[in-house]
């Protein structure tokens, strides 16, 4: 035991290129459905110290014995034939889990803010977050059978979005629709990346 050694497999395989997109939006807006429509869904949970997480939010005096809370996260993975792996992370909807967002957003290609037109206000905080962080994002309004039909510009106005933020209507249950949303998101991130690269070159 004392001299047990671990011998790794011979020859290290090449590390895959991995990257991620965030799926944000209010609780119950369809993030889980969206991730499941386009990718392999995997279980993922994190466990957080409740006393640190929820200061001022939860009254823990009544549950003094409970120190940690489990947060289930939406987690999807798409492996492309090129070997690139794209992970989709649904950001936890409740605001008390905001502390997790910085870690989720760090290094993300971009973000999709999923909106429910019946309660657009639920995604204000996500929009604010990505604007402040300067993370490229698109807004996708998920269509529910009883949701009112708004135009792109009405949604843009209601959320006070910059003109360059793409707004889409989608059905999170349909693979093709979700695919279009992901494409719009990555295309937007790429366009912004190129615009910035051009600016930097001009400044030099």
């Amino acid at each position: 035991m004392a001299f047990e050694r671990y011998e790794p497999a011979a020859g290290l395989a090449a590390a895959p290129i991995v990257t991620k997109l965030l799926i944000a939006g209010g609780f119950g807006v369809g993030k889980t459905t969206l991730v499941g429509a386009i990718s392999e869904v995997r279980p993922l949970r994190t466990e957080e110290d409740l006393s640190e997480v929820s200061v001022g939010i939860d009254d823990t005096t009544t549950v003094a014995h409970k120190r940690t809370t489990t947060v289930a996260m939406d987690f999807g993975r798409i492996t492309f034939p090129s070997g690139v792996v794209l992970y989709l992370f649904g950001t936890p909807g409740q605001e008390r889990f905001w502390f997790m967002w910085d870690e989720l957003a760090f290094g993300a290609l971009g973000a999709i803010v999923l909106a429910d037109t019946r309660r657009l206000a639920d995604c204000f905080s996500s929009v604010d977050y990505f604007e402040r962080r300067d993370t490229p994002f698109v807004v996708a309004a998920n269509h529910f059978d009883d949701s009112p039909r708004y135009s792109h510009s009405q949604i843009r106005d209601a959320l006070d979005l910059d003109l360059d933020v793409p707004v889409l209507l989608c059905d999170a249950r349909k693979r093709e629709s979700v695919k279009e949303v992901l494409i719009a998101s990555v295309a937007h991130s790429l366009a912004r990346h190129r615009a910035r690269a051009t600016l930097t070159t001009q400044r030099d």
Partner: protein, 122 residues
């Protein structure tokens, strides 16, 4: 923890050993803990395992090939925070190497382009 042997409790009941007992109550990952989608690989050099628990060993055996941290958490059904702390321990002992996005050979533009191409071909 959840696999093998007789199962008296179903998974919904939660683990019998609280996850943070596995990492001795450390709730904040050490500075050596890898990020969410960092890719970890068992190090080329053999290292000593003295003092490591079964979860450490399990993780080590799962990263003989490069694997992302989030996938390891999913594969082991351990909470992400716990996996990151355990991997931090392995990294301190140089049992694993960690590659972050900054270590990848591709530029951000080429990653964006290949993801875009990949999505379009879905």
């Amino acid at each position: 923890m959840t696999s093998g042997g007789e199962q008296w409790l179903d998974r919904e009941a939660g683990p019998v050993v609280r996850p943070y007992a596995l990492i001795k109550g450390r709730t904040r990952p050490p500075s050596t803990a890898p990020g969410l989608i960092d890719v970890v690989t068992a190090a080329g050099e053999a290292g000593y395992l003295v003092g490591l628990g079964p979860e450490h060993r399990r993780l080590l055996s799962l990263c003989r090939k490069p694997v992302a941290v989030a996938d390891l958490a999913s594969d082991t059904d351990l909470p992400l925070g716990v996996v990151r702390v355990l991997l931090g321990d392995l990294r301190e002992r140089r049992l694993i190497v960690v590659a972050g996005s900054a270590d990848q050979d591709s530029s951000e533009e080429s990653v964006l382009r290949s993801v875009l191409d990949g999505l379009r071909a879905l």
